[in-house]
Symmetry: C2
Subunit: 411 residues, 2 copies
């Protein structure tokens, strides 16, 4: 029986960034070169339309991009029956699949789904108090067509789990993912989702080898990644090397010490005592962002203004409504919105794009957008700070300044 390779944690100074892909950067605000973390400028993102091209899709990494050979890559799938049986290569029964196995043994499925980093809009929380993490603005979300195979099919066929057993296991079991490659904070990038999500016929979790009808780019997970629609992006593990069905969540740093909404009384002074008391995040919350105009943009007071943005919620919940205010929240108006459900499951994995053209804005004002999701959840008026700066979904506010044409001419 083949064993998955043992990975070792290495020191930050030893991380090798010499084989990073060549990147066109003009569309991005780059927050960090090593690891490479960059988000598109919001007007570019929204004007690209419903499906985000690869060269505008945000890039989120925790280490160097591994340089993986398609021909030699192996996906290891394991089953750990009891928590006493600690996960290591000796105690889990592994099966392995080549990329060719994955592409030929199961039907190719395509879903359209948005990925959003849980740290999207972290800047709004960093403005309140120091947070830990990349200070993302509102561009760490994108929508793409993902093609691959259903995780549900792979687990059933490779692990021979009868449907009945799945139903008995759903309450307690999880599916953990591990990536090839070194990262800053752990031996490798790891994460998990509940078995219930993995096996849900309407859950649409896939192992994707294509994005927008092309092989995954290295930045987006070549040759294979998980796509967990409706969940925070952190669960859609790239460079997928191991899948383990196990009776507990992943013990990885990215499941246990990140991507949690710590209470507002927890900061850098007491965070180490707090992790275990707070659950990991899965599904996204309801979110709404104005992409254009941008903050402090000079606008013309002489012509109507078109406001555009996106909205989304997690767990397949649709966006119920987006409302916009151009007077700082005094009055609200409807917008034109489109959100397409997944063709077969009917779940809303893709963002809603919306726009509204308003009559002339003649004095400086605050434009606000807010959304409700299909469960009646709405966004908070102001953000609530948390140390990891995750899940900020406060009403999105943009200050605009009309600049009269005579002033503009003078400038």
């Amino acid at each position: 029986m083949k064993q998955p390779p043992q990975q070792q944690m290495i020191h930050e100074d030893q991380l090798d960034y010499s084989e990073e892909p060549v990147r066109a950067l003009s569309n991005f605000e780059v927050h960090c070169q090593q690891p490479f973390n960059a988000e598109p400028y919001l007007p570019l993102l929204i004007n690209a339309g419903n499906i985000t091209p690869s060269d505008i899709f945000f890039k989120r990494n925790h280490g160097p991009i591994p340089n993986i050979s398609y021909d030699h890559h192996q996906l290891f799938v394991g089953f750990q029956h009891s928590p006493q049986n600690k996960i290591d290569n000796g105690h889990v029964e592994w099966k392995s699949l080549s990329m060719s196995d994955i592409m030929t043994l199961w039907p190719k499925i395509t879903i359209t789904a948005s990925l959003q980093c849980a740290g999207n809009r972290r800047d709004g929380l960093a403005a309140l108090k120091e947070v830990k993490g990349v200070i993302w603005k509102a561009g760490t979300i994108s929508n793409a067509r993902w093609s691959g195979v259903r995780l549900r099919d792979v687990l059933k066929d490779v692990m021979h789990i009868p449907e009945d057993l799945v139903h008995d296991m759903v309450r307690d079991f999880h599916v953990a993912f591990e990536a090839e490659g070194h990262v800053l904070e752990d031996v490798c990038y790891g994460s998990s989702i509940p078995l219930r999500k993995a096996m849900d016929p309407l859950g649409d979790v896939i192992l994707a080898y294509e994005m927008n009808d092309e092989p995954l780019s290295r930045d987006h997970g070549f040759p294979l990644r998980v796509i967990v629609p409706g969940y925070i992006g952190a669960r859609s593990v790239k460079y997928l090397q191991k899948i383990i069905i196990q009776p507990q969540e992943s013990e990885a740093y990215y499941q246990q010490k990140d991507y949690k909404i710590l209470p507002p009384w927890v900061d850098h002074t007491n965070v180490e005592d707090s992790w275990d008391a707070v659950s990991s995040l899965g599904e996204m919350n309801v979110q709404c962002v104005i992409c254009t105009p941008t903050e402090q943009e000079d606008i013309s007071p002489d012509i109507p203004l078109t406001i555009k943005g996106y909205a989304i919620s997690g767990g397949g919940r649709g966006v119920y409504r987006v409302e916009i205010s151009i007077d700082g929240g005094e009055t609200w108006e409807a917008v034109k919105m489109e959100q397409k459900p997944e063709r077969k499951s009917g779940m809303f994995w893709s963002w809603a794009l919306w726009e509204k053209t308003v009559s002339r804005i003649i004095k400086p004002t605050e434009i606000i957008a807010r959304a409700y999701d299909s469960s009646g959840n709405i966004q908070p008026e102001t953000p609530i700070w948390n140390y990891r700066g995750v899940m900020n979904n406060a009403w999105f506010r943009v200050h605009v300044v009309p600049m009269h044409s005579n002033i503009r001419t003078r400038l």
Copy 2:
């Protein structure tokens, strides 16, 4: 083939309330006698513990309580294949089941689930502007053990729907429920849920004939009701007489002209134009309520104060955390909370009960409680008004006044 009885709408004046059950009312604030609508006082509700006894469980009706014979009651199950085929008794193929059939043909299942009216806390919206509906406080929620049969099993066996077809149908089909008995606003009480929810093995939708291990009381739906855990109470139809699988939502008043979050610019002047543009509600949003102390309660400044309440979210999402403030929102503290997942599915259908004992409160203050759910949704700081007054989940605020013992003695 047996046909379900044809019901006719009758005028409000003709509704017959002569056979209402005898009710003990001391636990309730009665908002309306005909139809009977009453909610328990919050301290009684919370002090009753996790499972709410029948004599404290809120009562929500839209007409007289039908007086149904257990022996003669028939449940009609129908399948309408296409929307062109308008629902009427001539075009739907009906099958009928007696109560004895229901109790013997399928295994008895027990789930524990909270029901919450979508109008819970409507008083908080009525305080802003006129709303339409019973002005409920925060007592239209309760938790019970419900026993009956899985709707999924009944539909599969009676309608012979193969699992594959279900997956093909989930995007577009709904399961409509109709009740026996006359109501104020329509021919009968009716409502629907997506077929996806009805057929989800983890959805736990049941046709219940027992509540807290006793036959349903007449106020709670005798002899048979639907329980749709995770959804607003309006979908858990009582006095169940018809179930129809159909390619569109229920056309009943209670699906189309109520239980929708209308936009804030819609009121009694323009509501009739707005219904079709707004989706029906299904899952509940995240909610949190302080049950004791109550508003304006005099408390002792000399001893610690125990604050108790409930929290819940919809769709099986757990309560992630409840936070409490005793200084009007300046600082927040953790509470002790317990929420039990459903034994097998692991879904959170039952409320979380929480409590916190705080040191002495020596001056008048506002106590606030707020919750996050497992999808990272949080409650809004202040309510957003809507005409039907539904889904108010703003931070719950209670003003308390410490009364010093010398003053108390004087009084």
